[in-house]
């Protein structure tokens, strides 16, 4: 594997967008995502694609930078269409250039988080076998002993005559591998095609008020499905991505929204939780703000309503999605937030939903079953894992999301937890969400997560409780409520109060980590010992 270091010395603006150069050779394929990017770059040439506090990068610059990356990749003697190129770059103009440059070279982008643990990194590299790893000098880790890195100075080769062929991959061809956690602990690569990425971006552009003058403050990493979705939609709209350092703090996010005059913001529920707990969202006006979106997890209805109230007149869009469906699948129109409490909304255009039983038969309204989705945004499958693909994708194109849901008579969908968290207790099927929902409904200041644990040969639950505010948790009262409301087999064996729940790198509650906190559970995994430094 070769290592490519991307460097920007000075940002020199120039009028040349290589789209024309490509067209001279042959017409660009409109179902190639990078070709669409070049079209936008040509039309929005001088408009900032990426803006920070210190400067901005125009569409023209990003297109030239992407072309530099393409030239490097195509000039390698081993260059082959479909080769994987790993991108381990923080959100930056370099990332955008590397992403589209990779696609322009007919390669497949494999975005990786910059803080990926060594073991995970090894597993992903082993699975995807990339030819090249693209990084920034600042992120260069000397422990990587693959080869001598090649340094590429971006956008310095502007105006060169193009002698290389335009991209040929299109439509159903693989464009991107998105690694997510598999249920068995090994990473699973979600295979997304050019068509997947284009279709989902177009559906979202249809759903959200994203206009060419949109300025989206980005906190989500581009290497995640949701962050990638923000990148693709805003680039295809010819809008501006606002990047800022130190958006770790709720106060910094609010400051950046105000000072950079952001028109939109998207985040996962936990970030909104932080904005409500430690931020002062709504205290100072955000006149430029038009809308915010949440996805990547369920945001409790009362918190969603509170955010919607605090950001008025800007709108708040609750969305639902999955990496396997490129990014986003459904959206709740803001005016429905108070009517359809807790709903994930309706499928966005181009997406079809159905609630199905175990034999893939569609269930009527108000019946809980497996939420299935179909559309051009549904992945090609899992990378080199036909068994997992067959479990998830039906022959007629339905994606089994793994989420349980029902739809109401008007076609709005509501989630009921993950199907694969179902636990059998003494022959009864129990879903942790049942216990959690009971506690959270009766004690709104408490978050509850029920973890299945084995006691001897039987499975029971431990209920973890975390405060949502400063009020102490009354365990005795919660236990009393559970004893009153739940049959004995559903009652938690233990109640554990913790300050906050551990989160996964995707900011979801880390149930696996919680399971290790169950009293008596093995706390150290053999794998952890192997990766610990002495």
């Amino acid at each position: 594997m070769d290592i490519l270091l991307l460097q920007i010395d000075t940002v020199v603006e120039g009028p040349t967008v290589p789209a024309a150069g490509y067209r001279a050779n042959s017409p660009l394929i409109s179902t190639n995502l990078a070709a669409r990017f070049l079209d936008v770059a040509e039309a929005r040439s001088s408009h900032p694609a990426v803006a920070t506090r210190v400067g901005s990068f125009s569409y023209s610059w990003v297109a030239r930078a992407a072309d530099c990356v393409r030239r490097y990749l195509c000039s390698r003697p081993q260059h082959a269409a479909g080769a994987r190129v790993a991108l381990q770059l923080s959100n930056s103009a370099e990332y955008v250039a590397a992403f589209y440059g990779t696609l322009l070279a007919d390669c497949v982008a494999v975005p990786l988080p910059i803080s990926l643990e060594e073991r995970r990194m090894r597993e992903i590299l082993q699975l995807s076998k990339p030819d090249v790893l693209i990084i920034k000098p600042a992120d260069f880790n000397t422990s990587l002993k693959y080869s001598t890195p090649f340094t590429l100075r971006l956008a310095e080769m502007s105006g060169q005559q193009d002698s290389l062929s335009p991209p040929r991959r299109q439509g159903q061809d693989l464009a991107m591998l998105l690694f997510t956690s598999g249920s068995m602990g090994m990473p699973k690569g979600v295979m997304l095609s050019h068509q997947n990425l284009l279709a989902n971006a177009d559906s979202i552009l249809h759903e959200l008020p994203i206009s060419p003058d949109d300025r989206a403050l980005v906190v989500l990493p581009f290497c995640h499905a949701f962050g990638n979705s923000i990148l693709q939609t805003h680039v295809l709209a010819g809008a501006t991505l606002l990047l800022d350092r130190g958006l770790t703090f709720p106060s910094s996010i609010l400051e950046a929204l105000r000072e950079l005059e952001a028109t939109s913001f998207s985040a996962v529920p936990e970030v909104y939780g932080m904005l409500l707990k430690y931020g002062r969202l709504g205290e100072r006006p955000l006149p430029a703000l038009r809308y915010m979106t949440v996805a990547g997890g369920e945001l409790r209805h009362d918190l969603a309503a509170e955010i919607a109230r605090r950001i008025e007149p800007a709108s708040f869009h609750v969305m639902y999605g999955q990496s396997e469906a490129t990014a986003r699948l459904a959206s709740l129109p803001p005016q429905q937030l108070h009517i359809r409490r807790g709903s994930i909304g309706r499928p966005i255009s181009g997406v079809e939903f159905a609630v199905m039983d175990d034999s893939n038969r569609e269930l009527p309204a108000n019946t809980v079953g497996m939420l299935c989705a179909r559309g051009k945004n549904v992945m090609l499958g899992y990378w080199q894992d036909p068994a997992a693909t067959a479990d998830t994708l039906s022959v007629d194109g339905w994606l089994r999301t793994g989420d349980l849901a029902h739809r109401d008579e008007d076609g709005f969908f509501f989630l009921h937890g993950r199907a694969n968290l179902l636990v059998k207790v003494q022959g009864h099927r129990v879903h942790p969400a049942e216990i959690e929902g009971l506690v959270e409904a009766g004690f709104p200041q408490t978050s509850a997560v029920a973890i299945a644990t084995s006691r001897g040969d039987e499975t029971r639950f431990v209920l973890f409780l975390a405060p949502r505010d400063d009020r102490p948790i009354d365990v005795a009262k919660i236990r009393e409520a559970c004893q009153k409301e739940l049959p004995p087999y559903k009652q938690p064996l233990h109640y554990e109060v913790i300050e906050r729940f551990p989160l996964t790198s995707g900011y979801k509650i880390d149930r696996a980590a919680l399971a290790l906190l169950v009293p008596g559970a093995r706390r150290v995994q053999p794998d952890d010992i192997l990766t610990q430094s002495p």
Partner: protein, 87 residues
């Protein structure tokens, strides 16, 4: 947990450094923001750890860059809070 400066520095350094390879180089004066080491996950973990181990609670005005830019800044903040009567 005792909250003398030396002990606190050692504890928080260990807390940050033990998060993975990227963090082992962190020193008391490393700018955690400039270096990109402080993400919201570490921030929330730090708040949790400090609240639990030292009984210091943060209000929204105190979760800001000046209290978390370096480990030293956080130590100084915790010591200041510890020396004040808790509400």
């Amino acid at each position: 947990m005792t909250a003398d400066r030396k002990g606190l520095e050692g504890d928080l350094m260990h807390f940050v450094q033990s998060r993975g390879a990227r963090y082992t180089q962190a020193t008391l004066q490393t700018d955690l923001l400039e270096s990109g080491l402080l993400d919201s996950l570490l921030l929330m973990d730090l708040i949790f750890h400090i609240e639990e181990a030292y009984g210091v609670r943060f209000d929204s005005d105190q979760v800001n860059p000046s209290n978390f830019r370096t480990i030293e800044d956080t130590v100084t903040f915790v010591l200041k809070q510890k020396s004040m009567p808790q509400a």
